[in-house]
């Protein structure tokens, strides 16, 4: 865990947006990311979260995944890619892996 400071990078192709996540998404970093995410969700049809750099996710972060998934339910949907085994474990434990598309 050498990069605990969270940040995200946006790569967009029209309404298909990819956000690359880095660091720890916990209750300290979630509020800022929530604001960014809501901006993206206002215009995006589909969202891909690239979790390559995501080290740790707490319940506050999972809540944002759930929020994004439900906002895009009737559009292109939410997709998680490059999920580390630690993050996958959390998704499995909470059952969110069954409702959010993880690739």
């Amino acid at each position: 865990m050498n990069n605990p400071n969270f940040h995200s990078e946006k790569h967009s192709e029209g309404t298909a947006v990819t956000l690359a996540l880095f660091g720890n998404l916990n209750s300290a970093s979630a509020p800022d990311f929530e604001a960014d995410l809501k901006k993206v969700l206002a215009t995006a049809d589909s969202l891909t979260l690239d979790c390559t750099g995501l080290v740790y996710i707490s319940s506050a972060g999972l809540r944002l995944f759930l929020l994004a998934d439900q906002a895009l339910e009737n559009k292109g949907g939410l997709r998680l890619i490059h999920v580390s085994s630690e993050v996958k474990e959390v998704l499995d434990m909470t059952g969110l892996g069954t409702i959010i598309r993880v690739e």
Binding site: A28, V55, S58, A60, G95, L96
Partner: protein, 510 residues
């Protein structure tokens, strides 16, 4: 005239009155002077402040080189006394400023030979008095208007136009219009600007400081309310350990330590009837006040649904649906709920996306119960929950916790983790009671994080099953002998007591 000297003098005077305004407005005891008798004190205080300032401004005024007239911001003192201190404040400030101005030529020159009627002494003294009184009557309106500094600017301009006009007509009457104009024309602009901006700035500073002070007071109130919220939340969690009153079949202990004043974690335990004991640990997403509010709803719903007689899975499905109603913020709850049938040791449980509890058969090793019943609560209407079962025997132990324990981080951002928790559990002596177990985990996590601030709520619940029926009450009658004998035999067999001792006890019972 020396412009530089005049500007420096006037700015110096404005700076002083602003400092006084900051001190007054930021003082809590001054803020409390509102309403009733203390309002009078407040107005007198503001009047005295305005009056003292008017005196100071007169002394610090700039005397014109070509005439007896002087430029000062004395009227700011009168305006302050009246606009903030009402008619009484205006009267005090106006009188102090005006009377001092009347005697100022004697005080400054030390000569009593000067005519009071000469020069601008009379009109200046009178204007200050009038400005104090008039602004005092504008006080009520000034209290209510928005953009007070702008209104202050307008009042300042109005007051000084009046002051100059008064002086002009006075001098005209004494020396003719041309002389009057010559005496005053140079000071018109600096006079109006200095007083109007001086007063506007004063009001700006005064209001700003009052705003800061109110914000601080508000912050203190919120802090106080959070303190109450902490104790309310604390009192919502049952605290009857280590032994449930009157129940000797099990031993239970639990704790919840929020990361902030209030938390989103909770635990609960209760009987639904004499034989069925439910216990649970849950974690609302996020922390702080939003999580705490959701926690209250979740705790109430889970308990109500279980007590209504629904099976565990149905109770949690109902809770899930109810929580989803009006959950616009997309909060969710993870929960592990167990129901223990004491007479048989049968433990029925549901895990809604929660951390796996630790379980230990008497004398065995701890394992994680990784059964997954279904999705976290309040995430999806479609969530269904699967119930699992195991049978607890005397001595079996179970330990529930939230991710605040396993995800506690040290300065290197390493997590405490399931492995450390398991190792600690296995290293603990068998004689540990739930209360001791809680303290042991607390201490181990603390030594791991080494002072790194707690980032999430930490909750634990430990339960040890002691026996199926440790509280059997039997009347001492001959016909009850069979019941007692059977009970004794069962107990002795369970504890593998040698036959010789058990036979002796049988005789005692007989």
């Amino acid at each position: 005239m020396n412009w530089l000297e005049m500007i420096v003098k006037l700015i110096g005077a404005i700076a002083l009155i602003d400092v006084v305004a900051v001190l007054l407005a930021s003082t809590h005891s001054f803020a409390k002077l509102d309403g009733g008798k203390s309002r009078l004190t407040r107005h007198i205080l503001l009047g005295l402040t305005g009056g003292l300032f008017a005196i100071y401004a007169t002394v610090a005024g700039y005397k014109m080189t070509n005439s007896e007239a002087q430029v000062s911001i004395r009227d700011v003192g009168a305006l302050l006394g009246g606009a903030l201190g009402g008619p009484l404040g205006g009267l005090i400030a106006g009188t102090m400023g005006g009377v001092f101005r009347l005697f100022w030529p004697w005080i400054s020159d030390g000569s009593a030979a000067r005519s009071l009627l000469d020069g601008t002494t009379i009109p200046c003294a009178c204007s200050t008095f009038v400005i104090g009184i008039v602004s005092g009557f504008l006080h009520e309106g000034f209290k209510k208007v928005k953009h007070r500094p702008l209104w202050a600017l307008a009042m300042g301009v109005g007051a000084e136009v009046f002051h100059l006009a008064f002086a002009f007509f006075y001098l005209w009457g004494l020396h003719g219009a041309e002389n009057a104009w010559n005496a005053l024309r140079e000071l018109i602009i600096p006079f109006i600007l200095a007083n109007a901006f001086g007063f506007a700035l004063l009001i700006l500073v005064f209001d700003q400081m009052r705003h800061y002070r109110d914000t601080e007071v508000h912050a203190q109130q919120v802090e106080g309310e959070l303190g109450v919220a902490t104790s309310i939340q604390n009192s919502m969690l049952p605290k009857i350990f280590p032994d449930y009153p009157g129940r000797l079949e099990f031993n239970i202990a639990a704790s919840m330590e929020p990361a902030k004043e209030v938390g989103g974690d909770f635990y609960d335990f209760f009987f639904t009837d004499n034989d069925h004991f439910f216990f649970l640990v849950a974690d609302v997403s996020g922390k702080g006040v939003p999580a705490a509010l959701f926690m209250v709803i979740a705790k109430t719903l889970i308990k109500n649904n279980i007590q209504s007689g629904l099976s565990l899975d149905k109770a949690l499905e109902a809770t899930n649906q109810q929580l989803l109603e009006g959950d616009d913020e997309r909060m969710f709850v993870t929960a592990w709920v167990g129901g223990l049938e004491i007479s048989t040791g049968k433990l029925t449980y549901v895990n809604c996306g929660h951390n796996p509890p630790l379980y230990c058969k008497a004398g065995g090793q701890f394992i994680y119960l990784r059964d997954f019943s279904g999705l976290i609560l309040a995430a999806s209407k479609k969530a269904r929950y699967k119930t699992f079962e195991l049978t607890m025997a005397p001595g079996d132990r179970i330990f529930l916790y939230t991710d605040g324990i396993t995800e506690a981080m040290n300065a290197q951002s390493e997590q405490y983790g399931e492995k450390r928790l398991l190792a600690l559990a296995d290293s603990a002596p068998l004689s540990n009671t739930p209360l001791v177990a809680l303290d042991a985990v607390k201490a181990d996590v603390a030594s791991f994080v080494k002072g790194t601030p707690q980032s999430d709520d930490m909750t634990m619940l430990a339960l040890q099953f002691i026996d199926y029926d440790a509280h059997k009450k039997v009347e001492a009658k001959t016909e009850n002998f069979e019941v007692l004998s059977a009970f004794l035999e069962e107990q002795l067999n369970a504890k593998k007591v040698p036959l010789s001792i058990s036979n002796k006890l049988e005789i005692v019972l007989d």
